[in-house]
Amino acid sequence: MNATWSRFNVTSVVLGFAFLYLPIVLLIVFSFNESKLVTVWGGFSTKWYVSLFHNQGLMDATWVTARVGVISATVATVLGTLAALTLTRYTRFRGRILFSGMVFAPLVMPEVITGLSLLLLFVAIGLDRGFFTVTLAHITLTMCFVAVVVQSRLVSFDRSLEEAAMDLGATPVKTFFQITLPVIAPAIVSGWMLAFTLSLDDLVIASFTSGPGATTLPMKIYSQVRLGVTPEINAACTILIAVVAVGVVIASIANKRREVQRQLDEQAAQRG
């Protein structure tokens, strides 16, 4: 689309983003609140950050969440990539419709249903709930998101690159690892990050499928929210937001610089 940005357009975008970011900004601001109340400003203070680090419960939950996140994201990325390959490369096999349904359904399925069903499965096979079950549950959910991300990259992937590799003597397996994988790597990384975030963020499924000793951060935050809040929660949230924001911004900048460099390279090449 061409760029004639009317006043109406600018207003809608600005208002929209304001709406989107306002609660986050308020959250961050009140994490520095001297007063315990979440709505009355009592002066600037970083005491909640200090007490946060002494809150063993929250620290433990963060550690659990991080481990679950990394493990489930990694396994989910592998499974999701395989699923994406299956969907794009193999157009006719028995049960394809069922497979396709199983990959896309979790994207929209209400989490209460998925959580309940996974819990009942674990009980039925006699698996004790804890770290392992939460991880399995998260893998199942997030692999579908990875599949969608990787699949959309695979669909636009230039197959002639693979044909060229095979023509030059590489077997299909070697072709995949030496050519396909490196080229779709950004999508796979995006998929990993998406899976990690979803795992980090999940409350409902974790509540159903987790067990003693494996309380995740969202579960902890939720329980504290119900009981009564201190800005410690705000502090924890702010840190989380900061970490994510920094990560995304760095990724964005790196991406942009690569794009700019690429454009400069292409222009230089044109001039010979």
Binding site: N9, P110, I113, D201, F208, V225, V244
Partner: protein
């Protein structure tokens, strides 16, 4: 004589997809089977178990239901279990006005929220699509960024804004727009705000994707032929953005029907939604069979929208090719 090694790559029919032939049966089968089995075991089978549990009775036991169709008592035990199956739970659910109301309310709330999200999201997506190309990646990143931060956190932030002593009321009171604090928290209005807020990126992204692909010269051609701007929007822009609209609406509606966190934190005890009901039935009442039945009915309700979503995905994939 040339040194071509002859291999036994199997029968070469053109019917089999190219990669399957070349990759050799083994690798291809592995690629398909691993995710397939995982999903079958961890996604599909659990639903069957949910259905089975929904047919059994609650019990004071661990797990808190009577084991039905178990192999613990041997084959005879398996078949005797059949006699204990009952649709009692379902009958009870359909007779209980509360559950019926919960389902209906959830669907209505989700539908209204979806429309609201569309109304809020469309101008944003449109504005983004019409932005200068250099800013667009930044805008995209800004839309996605909240999504990377915790959903729970963002909903929690709204509590502080919407409660009677909250920031919104403080602002409105200090500007003398109102005399008494507005009661928004623990009402359906708060749920609407919560859903619209949390699901906005899910609406904006597919909309933006559709709108960005649109060729603006179509609008210019329409204007050139004498079409006023509003008519041009309804006749050209909106129909072309329809795939994005459908995808966005389904991405919001379906999960919203079964949403738990938002009704729980923002809706309070006066609001009734099926996600909360299921949770309470499970964690508070410890009635697993009934929760399962609730889940099954919810799933049946959503089957049609979910299939619509699959179709939309498949169609989008075809178009991208």
């Amino acid at each position: 004589m040339s040194n071509i090694a002859i291999t036994d790559a199997g029968p070469s029919t053109s019917a089999k997809p190219f990669l399957t032939r070349l990759a050799g049966g083994f690798v291809s089968r592995l690629v398909i089977i691993v995710p397939y089995l995982w999903l079958l075991f961890f996604f599909f089978i659990p639903f069957i178990i949910v259905f089975k549990i929904s047919l059994s009775q609650s019990a004071i036991a661990m797990p808190p239901y009577t084991p039905v169709l178990d192999f613990r008592d041997g084959i005879s035990g398996f078949f005797s279990g059949f006699r204990e199956l009952s649709f009692d739970n379902y009958v009870w659910l359909t007779q209980d006005a509360l559950y019926f109301k919960a389902y209906v309310t959830s669907v209505i709330i989700a539908a209204i929220s979806t429309v609201l999200t569309l109304l809020v999201g469309f101008p944003i997506a449109y504005g983004m699509a019409r932005a200068p190309a250099t800013i667009r990646p930044t805008l995209l990143m800004l839309v996605i960024l909240p999504f990377w931060t915790s959903f729970l956190i963002r909903v929690y932030a709204w509590i502080g804004i919407l409660k009677p002593e909250g920031l919104l009321n403080q602002l409105l009171l200090s500007l003398h727009i109102i005399n008494q604090p507005l009661i928004i928290l623990n009402t359906y209005t708060a749920i609407f705000i919560g859903i619209v807020y949390s699901y906005l990126p899910f609406m904006v992204l597919p909309l933006y994707s559709s709108l960005e692909k649109m060729d603006y010269s179509l609008i210019e051609a329409a204007k050139d032929l004498g079409c006023p701007p509003t008519a041009a929007f309804w006749k050209i822009t909106f129909p072309l953005s329809l795939p994005g609209v459908i995808a966005g609406c389904l991405l919001v509606f379906i999960p919203a029907v079964g949403e738990f966190v938002i009704p729980d934190l923002l809706g309070g005890s006066q609001t009734l939604m099926i996600g909360k009901t299921l949770w309470n039935e499970f964690f508070a009442n410890r009635d697993w069979p009934v929760s399962s039945a609730v889940a099954v009915i919810l799933l049946l309700l959503l089957i049609v929208p979910i299939m619509l979503f699959q179709q939309a995905q498949a169609r989008a994939q075809e178009q991208d090719k």
